[in-house]
């Protein structure tokens, strides 16, 4: 059996790595459009700030591909799948044998249909090329509007203000991320933007107008439009499902997959951002993509898939490290450990005497503990959870 992985983001590279670590001895080919597979999280932080060079974005050391016998076909895209013939077609016209295909095609930054969205000074941030195009605009004193205060938007605003820009951050929600982090922590994070000199505005964008040299932006509910030197739109991503659609696979707001990442054609699997487990939402997080890769490898090899864990993500902004695990929306109540006024602190979401979610500022151990509590369904006492003097590791241990 030979496997072709289409796309060299975290999902694709993790699939190749997991195939080898699980003992696969056949050929692995990784087809990627870029120069080399790279990690995206630093694109809105160190890389955008210019403090980390491109080569340090590499997901694997250059020697890894030889060591692991992963054939990297870079600067190439796949133009068509032919699962019935056991091959696929590359952008240079060649055909590649492929007994099994893993689609790790990622996606593009969303550009909602706002007038002027395609203007030269309106940026998005998803790729190295996006970051390279944005960086020269982030000069000291530049007026920058960031649209969307989720993860990418808030991180980009944080980097821009660090570079000396005059930053405005606009989002239609009063407290962005409250649904995933809980209101306490989300409020604190939103306030943190203000402490760092960012102007936060609750609104949506009606239009962008390029005035040559600057962009005029009209926001909902505001009488006057305002001018900015550049705009960054961070409002989510659009999964790349075209290859799957053209190959006749089931696609519905993502490439539909089963619990083992198999698509409607068992010879084709899908992982990472574009993969959507039937009946669920797409995950769109770094670790989820990595775990998809491990699950896809297990499916291809017929081995046991790793046990699912509570979803987890991090975001770094204004020098603070934020982590979250589980599903805060399913919590019946929240408990704060520490003081919400000052880091470090953590928020736990509880339901029926068990932790279902957690989020923390500068306290990753709290989230790592919570994650294990969620996975092991450990019964917990809310009062002890809230008490910083009680060790979370102790709460994890079974009662003796």
């Amino acid at each position: 059996m030979n496997v072709v992985v289409v796309g060299g983001g975290i999902a694709g590279v993790s699939t190749a790595a997991a195939l080898r670590s699980q003992g696969f001895d056949g050929e692995i080919t990784l087809v990627d459009a870029g120069e080399f597979p790279y990690d995206r999280p630093p694109l809105s932080k160190d890389y955008l700030a210019g403090t980390r060079p491109a080569r340090q974005l590499a997901l694997q050391q250059p020697s890894w591909y030889d060591d692991q016998r992963v054939r990297l076909v870079n600067r190439t895209t796949v133009t068509a799948l032919r699962p019935a013939e056991g091959k696929l077609e590359l952008s240079d016209g060649t055909m590649l044998p492929a007994d099994r295909v893993v689609l790790a095609t990622g996606g593009s930054a969303a550009r909602p249909p706002i007038p002027g969205i395609d203007g030269e000074r309106v940026h998005v941030l998803r790729t190295v090329e996006d970051a390279d195009r944005l960086r020269p605009a982030l000069t000291s004193g530049a007026r920058i509007l960031v649209v969307g205060a989720g993860l990418i938007g808030a991180e980009t605003a944080s980097t821009a203000v660090r570079l000396g820009c005059e930053v405005t951050l606009v989002d239609p929600l009063a407290t962005p991320l409250a649904a995933v982090l809980g209101p306490e922590l989300a409020t604190w994070l939103q306030d943190m933007h203000t402490w760092h000199g960012i102007t936060t505005v609750q609104a949506a964008v009606e239009s962008f107008t390029d005035r040559g040299g600057h962009v005029e932006v009209r926001l909902t509910g505001k009488a006057a439009s305002r001018s900015y030197d550049a705009v960054v739109v961070g409002v989510g991503m659009v999964p790349h499902t075209g290859l799957a659609e053209r190959a006749g696979l089931d696609v519905d707001r993502g490439i539909l997959v089963d619990a083992g990442q198999a698509t409607s054609n068992p010879a084709v699997l899908a992982v990472g951002d574009p993969a959507r487990p039937r009946g669920q939402a797409r995950a769109e997080h770094w670790e989820a993509a990595q775990q998809d890769g491990a699950r896809a490898a297990a499916t291809l090899l017929g081995t046991a898939a790793p046990a699912p864990t509570a979803p987890w993500f991090w975001t770094d902004r204004h020098g603070r490290h934020i982590e979250a695990a589980g599903h805060m929306a399913s919590a019946a109540e929240t408990v704060v450990r520490g003081s919400c006024a000052e880091p470090s602190f953590a928020v736990f979401g509880l339901r029926d005497g068990r932790v279902v979610a957690a989020a923390a500022v500068d306290d990753s151990a709290a989230v790592r503990a919570a994650r294990r509590m969620i996975d092991r369904r450990t019964p917990v006492d809310a009062g002890r959870l809230a008490d910083p003097d009680v060790s979370l590791r102790a709460l994890l241990r079974p009662e003796r």
């Binding site: 590279v13 790595a17 999280p41 670790e287 490290h321 990753s364 151990a365 503990a369 060790s391």
Partner: protein, 111 residues
């Protein structure tokens, strides 16, 4: 073979946690993290994660591995081998011994 340096009492390191020993004491290029596993065995690794600037002594120690407090790359406590992304390089292990409740570190010596 040196006699090692007495760097801590075992009780200074809670189970499942770590303690960083400054490079001024160890004489190594990096600080060294003492990591007490869930079975109470103590290990020592170079403290700085090979991915970004984070102290493994602040990480989560469990069942033979330490998880970096920033982006959760895992390293094997015994040999410093990286287990998963985003880190791609191993960290360096050092020999450590616990005698009469005292932790003795042998910087630069293989375990």
């Amino acid at each position: 073979m040196s006699n090692g340096i007495r760097v801590a009492a075992l009780d200074d390191i809670p189970q499942g946690e770590g303690l960083a020993v400054a490079k001024e004491i160890t004489g190594t290029a990096d600080d060294i993290a003492l990591l007490r596993d869930t079975d109470d065995t103590v290990y020592a690794l170079d403290d700085t994660c090979t991915h970004e600037d984070a102290s493994l002594a602040d990480g989560w120690v469990e069942d033979g591995y330490v998880e970096c407090p920033l982006h959760a790359s895992r390293f094997c406590l015994k040999n410093g081998e990286v287990q998963g992304l985003p880190a791609t390089r191993n960290t360096c292990p050092h020999r450590v011994e616990v005698r009469d409740g005292e932790v003795w570190l042998f910087p630069g010596e293989a375990p």
